[in-house]
């Protein structure tokens, strides 16, 4: 198989699988080293850009996924009848931001930051595939921990958590206060449970 054929094979594999595929799995599928896979991936990225087919190749941490170009969203929504799809609520964005910046994190931590019960919102976010379970915290009661998903990265158009917006007011004074606070917060969390 030549390089161009490998690129086509990669496209058809990503197309058929739909969900993000890890680089390790692609190494197995194509019997290649990670560098080899990366070369093919970059080849595909370039080809998709040139050919303007309406789909693009996303990198989500160490995985790859095909997704449609946002410019055609209008037609897709029309075809899928998604026009009435409800966007996330302000509460959902708040919970997401606490989870994203503090993961892995317990529900009670999120609730402490927001000052309100978050069970419903957390369940919705799990259903929407934006957050997921991440084991348990080694404290009495063994509360579940949550983190963000690959789908979260895709939804917010980033390929890595490091691309999240910087926390505001990252200057010395407030940051100091902030740090002290989060330590206090964690201690309290521990005591509560």
């Amino acid at each position: 198989m030549n390089r161009e054929q490998k690129i086509s094979a990669l496209f058809s594999v990503l197309f058929a699988c739909g969900e993000p595929i890890s680089i390790e799995r692609l190494c197995e599928v194509f019997d290649e080293k990670p560098e080899g896979v990366e070369t093919i991936v970059n080849g595909l990225k370039k080809r998709l850009e040139e050919q303007q087919l309406g789909v693009m190749l996303l990198t989500l941490e160490n995985t790859y996924q095909l997704a449609t170009d946002e410019n055609y969203a209008e037609y897709i929504k029309k075809a899928l009848d998604l026009r009435r799809r409800t966007p996330l609520s302000p509460a959902a964005f708040e919970v997401l931001s606490v989870v994203a910046y503090n993961q892995p994190v317990t529900k009670s931590f999120v609730e402490q930051v927001r000052g309100v019960d978050c069970s419903g919102v957390m369940t919705t976010l799990i259903e929407k595939g934006l957050i997921e379970e991440r084991g348990r915290l080694e404290l009495p009661g063994r509360p579940l921990l949550y983190g963000t998903t690959k789908n979260f990265l895709r939804t917010f158009g980033i390929s890595d958590l490091s691309e999240l917006p910087k926390l505001p007011n990252e200057d010395h004074t407030v940051n100091d206060v902030g740090e002290q606070l989060s330590i206090e917060g964690t201690e309290k969390l521990g005591e509560e449970e």
């Binding site: 699988c17 739909g18 606490v98 930051v113 009661g141 158009g157």
Partner: protein, 239 residues
């Protein structure tokens, strides 16, 4: 300080949100805010919600009592504790404010909302799990799920009453309770089963349990008036 009391309770994500909005209204930042005034405004606001007969969730009330406590503590001659509590509250407000700012930024990063992925191809693939694991993995997972020392289940119902649909769970446990009470054989006064009940829902559950057991032909009820009713286990019930 004059505050306009025109909010609706639904406009707030919670008590911290209400406090932040009151601070914003006073056009000061959290560090410099006069906590005593802020507390007054918050309590005033809650009072307004009450007058308008709005549904105030318990979180708002809890915060109100916490604020009152801070205020009371600050009246004491030595008010180190009040200072500590006030710092704690300010800290929480700062943290929540950061959370709000980030949430706002995230809500602007919506490009991905318009990028659609594809469902996996529906190949006629067998999804049967093929890997092998050591059985010990299950023990570890069980301990993780249940915690050590709770070998057998169901565990006590207490920690779960808030999570589980109470009625169904309570009925199942009351069936066990009723059966256990009758195991020694002989008739018992139906009313004796209600003796230990601590709440109306527990009474209802016990009653439903008795009905379930009647329906399943496990117990027999006799007696011609409610206060004379007796209950007995049906012996030799086929399994």
């Amino acid at each position: 300080m004059q505050t306009e009391l025109s909010y609706k309770i639904e406009n707030f994500e919670g008590p911290l949100d209400l406090l932040l909005q009151l601070i914003a209204k006073n056009k000061v930042n959290i560090i410099e805010v006069n906590l005593s005034e802020l507390i007054d405004q918050y309590l005033e606001q809650i009072e307004y919600f009450k007058q308008e007969e709005m549904d105030i969730s318990s979180e708002f009330i809890t915060m109100a009592s916490r604020l009152i406590y801070i205020k009371t503590a600050s009246l004491l001659p030595k008010h180190e504790e009040a200072q500590k509590l006030a710092d704690e509250l300010k800290g929480e407000l700062i943290e929540y404010q950061i959370c709000r700012q980030i949430a706002l930024e995230l809500s602007k990063m919506t490009v991905g909302f318009d990028r659609f992925a594809k469902e996996p191809e529906e190949y006629e693939f067998d999804k049967t799990y093929e890997l092998n694991h050591e059985p010990q993995v299950l023990v570890d997972a069980y301990i993780s799920a249940v915690g050590r020392g709770k070998r057998r289940l169901p565990p006590s119902t207490a920690p779960f009453t808030k999570i589980v649909a109470r009625k169904i769970y309570a009925v199942s446990s009351k069936i066990v309770f009723v059966m256990r009470n009758l195991l020694s054989g002989g008739k018992k006064k139906l009313s004796s089963l209600y003796g230990g009940a601590k709440s109306r829902s527990e009474l209802v559950a016990t009653f439903l349990a008795v009905l379930e057991l009647c329906k399943a032909n496990r117990v027999k009820l006799t007696g011609d008036s409610p206060d004379k009713a007796e209950i007995q286990l049906i012996k030799g019930h086929k399994k």
